[in-house]
Symmetry: D2
Amino acid sequence: MPLNEGDPVVIWIDPKRAYISKLERGKRLDTDKGAIFYDNLIGLEYGSSLTLQTGAKAYLLKPTIQDLYSKGLKRPSQVLYPKDIGYILTTLSLNQVKTVIEAGTGSGFLTISLALSLSENAKIYTYDVREDMQKVAKFNANVLGVQDKIVFKLKDIREGIDEKEADAIFLDMPDPWNAIPKLYEPLKPSSTIIVFVPTVNQIEKTYFAMKNSGIIDIHVEELILREYQVKENAVRPRNIGIMHTGFIIRGRKSI
Amino acid sequence: MPLNEGDPVVIWIDPKRAYISKLERGKRLDTDKGAIFYDNLIGLEYGSSLTLQTGAKAYLLKPTIQDLYSKGLKRPSQVLYPKDIGYILTTLSLNQVKTVIEAGTGSGFLTISLALSLSENAKIYTYDVREDMQKVAKFNANVLGVQDKIVFKLKDIREGIDEKEADAIFLDMPDPWNAIPKLYEPLKPSSTIIVFVPTVNQIEKTYFAMKNSGIIDIHVEELILREYQVKENAVRPRNIGIMHTGFIIRGRKSI
Amino acid sequence: MPLNEGDPVVIWIDPKRAYISKLERGKRLDTDKGAIFYDNLIGLEYGSSLTLQTGAKAYLLKPTIQDLYSKGLKRPSQVLYPKDIGYILTTLSLNQVKTVIEAGTGSGFLTISLALSLSENAKIYTYDVREDMQKVAKFNANVLGVQDKIVFKLKDIREGIDEKEADAIFLDMPDPWNAIPKLYEPLKPSSTIIVFVPTVNQIEKTYFAMKNSGIIDIHVEELILREYQVKENAVRPRNIGIMHTGFIIRGRKSI
Amino acid sequence: MPLNEGDPVVIWIDPKRAYISKLERGKRLDTDKGAIFYDNLIGLEYGSSLTLQTGAKAYLLKPTIQDLYSKGLKRPSQVLYPKDIGYILTTLSLNQVKTVIEAGTGSGFLTISLALSLSENAKIYTYDVREDMQKVAKFNANVLGVQDKIVFKLKDIREGIDEKEADAIFLDMPDPWNAIPKLYEPLKPSSTIIVFVPTVNQIEKTYFAMKNSGIIDIHVEELILREYQVKENAVRPRNIGIMHTGFIIRGRKSI
């Protein structure tokens, strides 16, 4: 299928030169490998490439969760990484999920990831008290073309949510223990609540807030991603990498 | 919604006593915490619990990818773990994926995970040369009730596949480099190929088989999951854990 | 040099059959690979081997810190592992260290490791309130033949120490913050204090107890050891391993 | 004991401003926190501090292995890190080691670490084919004042060594398997040989070169160091860190 104006695209030259954006007539992307005129991209297909002035090739790719970390989206706040988002996805039977609640919105990377994963008629309700953050997330969702699956709520989730039945709840906020008791009621029985926290100090409070609310099967976990570099006869883990993003605390509601 | 005969269910007593199965009249599950008669479960809802003879509570939960590792499914071969499956899911725009190719079938844990994640009209085509393995995977898929989304192919994927257009290809086999060249053609442009290998020796061959076939944006990665135990005023990583499952090698097709 | 009665020796058959003990006339070691009569070992050299009834070979090795984890020593309490002990050694200029303070004694593994590492005229003063523990540690030190370098003190280190000048202080106890203020004075300027704690909850209290006492250059670290198994054309990290022992908090005294 | 001209010292302002050097009259160190005149340091003690023009304090510390990574030493090549050096130390009964062989010399960090650890009458014989490297190592050893314990040999270790009896051998070179067979003879029975390699490709060749030479109790291991940052009520692993330095392969000689 040929690409149209408005389609999301990753322009991939090499791992350090990957740009995510929406196809718009008249727009251009300048890189040190050459300029790319979006008018020339319309009508091409995902997977095709064009040769730049310097001889470098630029490939057009269809965005996935992995591409959210390319250049082009806004990132004013700490974001969840694919390793963490993927693990969150395994706690859901994705194709049956219709209503997901999330707070805070942040840059919208988890919001968008869920929108890319959930089936057509699912909706993500994302709460944040900061309007500026939600603007960022809206911008990002719009680049990916998933804005229709997201409902932005400018509201403090610690005061509860408007939705009556949630298939899953995700919290990435400084004091999740202040929100959990209010969220127990609307979470559907057997459904998952997941909390993401960066410090060890937040683990215990979150764990007991879940447990005391009636959440069962609680796990506290952390994922470390290790990247390898491959050269002929020289395969090795990369020397420097991300050692820590946060801890994932997950459990399920019992009646 | 009340549970019916045939519904998949996780009977969860505690982390070491979690059993996944299909609700069948007349069946019973014996545990050291008491017996559970399936006839009593029909009509209950996911999330509800019953009290066993010993006073222990058994909760009925709706299965997710995380539950595949409970007791009740068959595991004759090494399986992918949720951490790896979740990461695989981040390389796809799940809601747009229709056709997925996989080899080998193994115990069917990745097959089932994809079936739980992909939208209604998607299909997973899973190749294996061992009929006994596919029997195991069929049994497991049937427990989860996802058999209709899976097409089992008793065939050596190194000889190519029957499907003309694949949205994604996953290989978990000893010599993926012998299959990759044949699979390049049916993989849709911009779509993902992922290989999972347990040894470091397999990394380089797989990487260059991908690269030489025209795959771009290749990454070699590994995920380490760390579990934490939480007691009051005593939070710590668990002493013993799984240090290694395998390496994930992923890339995308360029035209 | 031929082995004499009283010499410490590791009898190594394979990684799972390694026994550390003191050579004693008349003693025998029974293993499923055959019996070993110590009388036959006296006069042999470190590195030599004998063939057992089953054909298996038993090697005589000179003990190192790594061997403390062989069978033969007593381990009633959690012990420090070589990875942690080694890191502790890097914080000292070992050959100049004369007086080391340690609490608690525990099984004496760190005590013995220091005795194996420090030069002839150095002494380790090890404090513990439990006499049973110190008996265990004495037994272990005696097996290794290092008892002369160790002074056992049955005393609560939280009440201070008798020694006036310490080149290093190591604490492996539940509440190190209750001992640190008392230990600052006898620690020689520029010398190291190291604390080992298993839980995340203990990190912050220890850190600030050090900082508030005048300790500088404080680091909180943790070491993860990954073992690899090697077969021809199949090298891989071991699947199961030790994910956590404890956190190391180290700093130096300023005047 | 007051510091004299020629003494090694670490001038520590904060973790990013730590400088290792030899006290020399007339020398000065310029930092963005203020200048330090070495003439003022002579006569002070380790652990004491001076206040700089900006009000920052500079502490004088006695160098340990941990300090080799401060500024002030030369590092033209990859170096072993304290975590790896410490682990190497646990494979020796340090206080009994007299003769250690090492190749390549590199920046001399392992050489110096051994010199700081081994007792007075021990010697380290360090082999390298590159004279420029040995110059760097000599410079570094001189800063630490340990040059008398080191014998520099400008020679290819693959052709064998001059020493008849080695208590330990360490190899950090591209093709250790070409040196191992020649080094088996001079290694004392029961003594340790350790090889450090950065790539996974080197593991298998090294392992089998050891095994085929008669080395027993071979282990392949890797250490990952995780640093934590501590703020009040906010303890967490650092986000970015060193994910990989190399693999340690160790074994012992049997007769």
